[in-house]
């Protein structure tokens, strides 16, 4: 029992799972007993959730959002990798650093500009998303690059690699596992932005549009049910990417053990 509160104490998996489940149950019970009227009780949300699950509207909208997110992620990764890999080339390093600072630009102010630049709603959404995601990706990836130890470069030098071969070996191959990790960490950000972006251009639907609709009618049970599904999908992708990483890059598992 004392172990539970000792820093760095090693617990078996079973204990950890039991703890999490127990804490979750307590939280749900508190919620159930303390919420009156305005905030729906967890049971109500579960009911709404299971009612939504078999509907076509729900899956169609989820699909729209997922496709858009994945598209945006794919483009963002390509853009990020391009700039991150080239950030070690002096000509491009300034640009990469500027992209990092773009995190501080809020999207809202740029919507009009993007509307002028793009042709339709789906393009607008996509470009906004990409523009929103890329700075975060680049930030994470540049920090991976700057934390590369000199030793890695030194080894390349002693093996007579030229600079491009060094870039290839140390950064592209050597940090490929980090790309997946970055995607995993930043998936949350793109998943967060999707609902916002979809609110801007509602014509094609999507989970964000659905949220806004229910919000308008004060249908809090359904709103929270959708939140729950967004949450679960996020968890699912987190797991999937983690699994992919272990499978593709077995050495990363060794390092954390």
């Amino acid at each position: 029992m004392k172990q539970l509160f000792a820093p760095f104490a090693n617990m078996s998996r079973k204990v950890i799972y039991l703890l999490v489940i127990g804490q979750l149950l307590v939280a749900l019970m508190l919620w159930h007993n303390l919420s009156h009227g305005l905030i729906p009780k967890p049971i109500k949300i579960a009911e709404n959730f299971f009612a939504l699950l078999p509907t076509k509207v729900f899956w169609d909208n989820i699909l729209v959002s997922l496709v858009l997110t994945l598209k945006a992620m794919a483009i963002s990764i390509l853009v990020t990798l391009f700039f991150a890999y080239l950030s070690v080339v002096p000509f491009f390093s300034g640009l990469a650093k500027f992209l990092v600072k773009c995190r501080y630009l809020t999207l809202t102010g740029l919507i009009f500009v993007f509307t002028l630049l793009t042709q339709d709603g789906s393009q607008l959404k996509l470009s906004l998303l990409v523009f929103g995601i890329v700075p975060f990706f680049v930030t994470s990836f540049l920090s991976v690059i700057t934390s590369i130890k000199n030793q890695e470069y030194d080894l390349c030098k002693t093996l007579r690699y030229n600079r491009w071969q060094t870039l290839y070996e140390v950064i592209i191959i050597g940090k490929a596992d980090q790309v997946l990790e970055i995607i995993r960490q930043n998936f949350a950000i793109s998943w967060l932005m999707i609902t916002m972006v979809e609110g801007l251009s509602m014509s094609e639907g999507g989970i964000g549009t659905l949220l806004i609709k229910y919000n308008k009618y004060n249908d809090l049970g359904n709103v929270l049910a959708i939140q729950l599904s967004i949450f679960l999908l996020g968890l699912f992708f987190d797991f999937l990417l983690g699994f992919l990483k272990k499978w593709l890059f077995p050495y990363t598992k060794l390092q954390t053990q």
């Binding site: 890695e152 080894l155 030098k157 002693t158 007579r160 070996e169 390092q255």
Partner: protein, 278 residues
């Protein structure tokens, strides 16, 4: 082992050697970190040693106390780092460039994302003397020699320190530079492994006339036993930075290339002498 009297003439014949062309020369090396001088006026010269009937490479050791600047000098010699002033040149006075020397670092760094076999393959591909078709055989052969066969498909994280060290050494051997610099190759080894590494380095030094090993170490006995020349890096009274205060020619003292050198009286004297200088 005491050498029987009637064999003495024979031993002397064995010790016949000549020093020929210069293989590596460092002149007036100074290194500063900001205001702080680490290395001062370092001059050293390594010549090709030729022995009749033996393909004899060179083994040079660089001794000095911890923190004196051995690793820094080593980085300068290998071309990885530019000195504040001074030059390092190789055969025919050509400046040494990074990549001219194989380097085994103090902590045996290997690409963590490559299996040992992949790392070795990559190193071997950069060796102009190796035909692509021979690479696999060479790797298997070296791995056998260094007791690494069963570890070839592992990642560096899965190896012990000694195994990593051997993998680093093979990596650089396959890469094919004539010079092999080893930073502290004897630290963290048990007695048996130490003997094995020494044996292995000797084997390497006998593999090619021009092969030159430079060992950086603070293990005096092992370095002296293995080397033909020892440079001592230390601080001189009242002067900033470390410099080479003595070059001990072990061939001259008949302490080179002999298996049982440690039993010689002269060996003990030399070790004592060096200890006093550090």
């Amino acid at each position: 082992m005491v050498v029987p009297l009637h064999k003495t003439s024979n031993t002397i014949a064995m010790m016949e050697y000549r020093k020929e062309e210069i293989l590596l020369k460092a002149e007036k090396i100074n290194l500063f970190f900001g205001e702080k001088q680490v290395l001062r006026d370092i001059d050293l010269c390594i010549k090709n040693i030729v022995r009749p009937g033996v393909t004899q490479g060179q083994v040079v050791s660089l001794l000095g106390r911890s923190g004196i600047g051995k690793t820094q000098l080593f980085r300068i010699l290998s071309g990885l780092q530019k000195p504040t002033s001074g030059t390092v040149t190789g055969i025919d006075n050509k400046p040494i460039m990074q990549g001219d020397m194989g380097v085994v670092f103090q902590n045996y760094y290997l690409f963590e994302w490559r299996t040992i076999r992949q790392s070795l393959e990559l190193a071997a591909k950069k060796n102009p003397q190796l035909k692509p078709t021979d690479i696999k055989d060479q790797i298997d052969q070296q791995a056998q020699l260094f007791n690494l066969t069963e570890h070839l498909n592992k990642y560096p994280q899965q190896l012990s320190g000694g195994q990593r060290q051997r993998a680093s050494i093979i990596q650089q051997l396959l890469n094919g530079s004539n010079f092999l610099l080893l930073d502290e190759p004897f630290s963290g080894l048990d007695v048996i492994m130490l003997e094995k590494v020494v044996e292995l380095l000797l084997k390497v030094s006998l593999s090619d006339e021009l092969k030159t090993l430079i060992l950086v170490s603070h293990d005096i006995e092992t370095s002296v036993a293995l080397a033909d020349t020892t440079f001592i890096l230390a601080q001189e009274d009242g002067k900033p930075g470390a410099t080479i205060i003595k070059e001990v020619d072990l061939c001259e003292r008949e302490l080179a290339w002999e298996k049982d050198v440690k039993n010689k009286k002269e060996f003990a004297n030399t070790v004592q002498e060096i200890k006093a200088l550090l």
